[in-house]
């Protein structure tokens, strides 16, 4: 078995039908390791979210294969994909998607509840997760009582509470101010220090690359750049598969 958390090979995704058909992703190869924070950058419509959805087992590729923690997604039905997400994936969304009628703690416990962890165990784990994101004092607060940054931190706590191998964040700082954005990225970078977790962050904001171990560029459904190294170490640049761009 490979040491990659997520491996995608030759992934192509076609959306729509007939005249409305769009090749959202074209023959993508990408692997994510544990202990790394990878930033995926690209302009609007470049296929970032589609790629995130496929790597996160929400969509399956039209062509190619995706393996998450050694499990292949090809041919999996919706329930099997849901189980893969339940077992291995945590998501952080741009709009937080917290449940407005549940407290911060309950929002986090919900991620455990769907995995069969209930009661005191779930309450303790949600408390730990909130502590990790610095919101232990907001345990009983409802989302409308939290700032945008705090809501996103609760969303991160929800994503990590079940200890998933892969954490996918879709534009997690897009609606936050710079300070809150930096805080969120700092938390995600901290999570990614653990070799058991691989973090992929989709963002428009080039300032966030300073937190990344690796930056991948996507344009028109193709990966066009793969930079390794931390901030200011952009020299290690590999242009990948440029020949495949169409």
């Amino acid at each position: 078995m490979s040491d990659f958390i997520v491996e995608a090979k030759g992934v192509t995704k076609v959306l729509g039908r007939g005249a409305a058909q769009v090749h959202a992703l074209k023959d993508i190869d990408l692997s994510l390791r544990g202990g790394e924070l990878t930033v995926l950058m690209g302009p609007s419509g470049s296929g970032k979210t589609t790629l995130l959805s496929i790597l996160g087992c929400i969509l399956t590729p039209t062509l190619g294969t995706v393996r998450v923690c050694g499990r292949e997604t090809q041919g999996a039905n919706a329930e099997v994909l849901a189980k893969l997400r339940r077992d291995h994936v945590g998501f952080v969304f741009q709009s937080y998607h917290l449940f407005p009628t549940l407290t911060a703690s309950e929002n986090i416990q919900l991620a455990l509840d769907i995995r069969g962890v209930h009661g005191e165990d779930a309450r303790a784990k949600s408390g730990d997760a909130l502590e990790k994101v610095g919101l232990a004092h907001k345990i009983a607060s409802y989302p409308h009582e939290l700032s945008g940054g705090e809501q996103q931190r609760v969303a991160i706590a929800r994503a990590i509470v079940s200890n998933p191998s892969a954490i996918f964040a879709d534009e997690p700082t897009a609606v936050l101010d710079t300070k809150n954005g930096q805080t969120i990225m700092g938390i995600l970078a901290e999570i990614a220090k653990d070799p058991a977790h691989g973090v992929l962050v989709v963002t428009h904001d080039s300032r966030m690359t300073s937190f990344a171990d690796r930056v991948i560029h996507i344009e028109d459904g193709c990966l066009v750049g793969d930079e390794r190294g931390s901030a200011g170490d952009a020299a290690i640049l590999t242009t990948v598969r440029a020949g495949r761009r169409t």
């Binding site: 979210t49 919706a78 329930e79 189980k83 997400r85 998607h97 449940f99 309950e106 919900l110 509840d113």
Partner: protein, 375 residues
């Protein structure tokens, strides 16, 4: 409390207006079904109340008699034959029939006269006077409910039936007829005169068996020797009367039709509100799905919501149902709500609400979790 139940209850109570509208819909539906079924049971009990208060082992009646109020007659000569049949301890003649009660003002109102030995069938719930006093010439028992209709005020009040003077000697409480025609109890000979039945005829023969006699055996012997008559047990006559009035007349069908309509209305209301609530929470269900929740978990949230609706709606509906019972207790047709009916109504309410949740579940099944990235 399980978290999916917490989520369901918070979603339910979050939109108070919708919650109130749903609850009203369920209450409306359940009360309607409960009252219709309560009327059905009340009606069923009322049309058989005299049979239920008669202490006979067998009823002998003219062949084809449909119900207790059926005016078919038997020849009184059968009395001796029945009384001398092996196993029979006693045969008591009973006459029934409509007559005219003449008020002191001269107006006439119809009454239903029941005349017997005042032992096997006697008025019950006597609140004033005595049954024994009915053996006095001209003595009758009337129900308190019909005082105004009969122009009487209690014991000693005078009137006429078919020109014969009568005096109220006993007052009952709660012996009402679904036809709203008052029952008048008297002894056999006076009842004949009030109705106009000759001494050669009777309406029924009430049979009491000797101790240890085999009921089926006696019935078989009586039936074999009385080919133009029928011999029924009280339970059989009870069921025949009930079936005739409920189904032979269409009254029961109307009550059932009302109940079914109420169920449909309730289901539509619950389905509509649950569907609309689910649509409003689609983002949340999509988030749950994206997080890896199974479909079953999401269904459980929707079904818990439906069950909460059912329990709350049922609780209010039961309170209203009991108010209706109290309100109709002294009316012409009391609503009868039994523990079995309450249990059946609870099951029906739960089934109705869960079935109504199917529309919302079908909507959730079609959720694409990828929508969480676009909102």
């Amino acid at each position: 409390m399980p978290l999916n139940l917490t989520l369901a209850s918070r979603n339910l109570f979050h939109d108070r207006l919708r919650f109130v509208a749903t609850t009203i819909g369920i209450v409306f539906s359940v009360v309607l079904v409960m009252v219709q079924m309560g009327l059905y049971f009340g009606f069923g009990r009322m049309v058989t109340t005299v049979i239920a208060h008669t202490s006979a082992d067998l009823w002998v009646m003219r062949h084809g008699t449909k119900c207790f109020e059926d005016p078919s007659l038997l020849t009184a000569s059968k009395l001796t034959h029945v009384a001398t049949t092996d196993g029979v301890a006693e045969a008591i003649p009973l006459v029934i029939g409509f007559s005219g009660w003449i008020l002191p003002s001269g107006e006439i109102t119809p009454v239903f006269v029941v005349g017997s030995d005042l032992q096997t069938l006697k008025p019950w719930n006597v609140t004033d006077g005595t049954v024994q006093a009915l053996s006095t010439p001209g003595a009758v028992a009337v129900d308190r409910t019909y005082f105004e209709r009969l122009g009487v005020s209690g014991i000693g009040s005078k009137a006429n039936i078919r020109g014969l003077p009568v005096s109220v000697a006993a007052v009952t409480d709660g012996i009402r007829s679904f036809t709203t025609t008052p029952y008048i109890f008297s002894d056999l000979s006076q009842a004949r005169a009030y109705i106009g039945i000759p001494s050669t005829m009777v309406s029924y023969l009430l049979v009491k068996l000797r101790p240890g006699a085999d009921l089926e055996h006696v019935r078989h012997d009586l039936q074999a020797s009385l080919p133009d008559s029928e011999v029924l047990t009280p339970a059989e006559f009870h069921e025949r009367s009930r079936s005739y009035w409920l189904f032979g007349t269409g009254a029961g069908a109307a009550l059932f039709a009302g109940a079914i309509l109420a169920i449909i209305v309730g289901m539509v209301i619950v389905a509509q509100t649950l569907y609309s609530s689910t649509k409003d929470h689609l983002d949340e269900f999509a988030t749950l799905r994206a997080m890896g929740s199974s479909n079953g978990y999401i269904y459980s949230v929707i079904i818990y919501q439906a069950l909460l609706n059912a329990v709350i709606g049922f609780a209010f509906a039961t309170l209203i149902g009991f108010s209706v019972v109290g309100f109709t207790r002294s009316g012409a047709l009391p609503v009868l709500i039994t523990p079995t009916l309450i249990l059946a109504m609870f099951v029906l309410t739960v089934v109705m609400c869960v079935a109504a949740a199917l529309g919302a579940i079908f909507r959730v099944v079609r959720i694409d979790p990828v929508m969480v990235f676009t909102r």
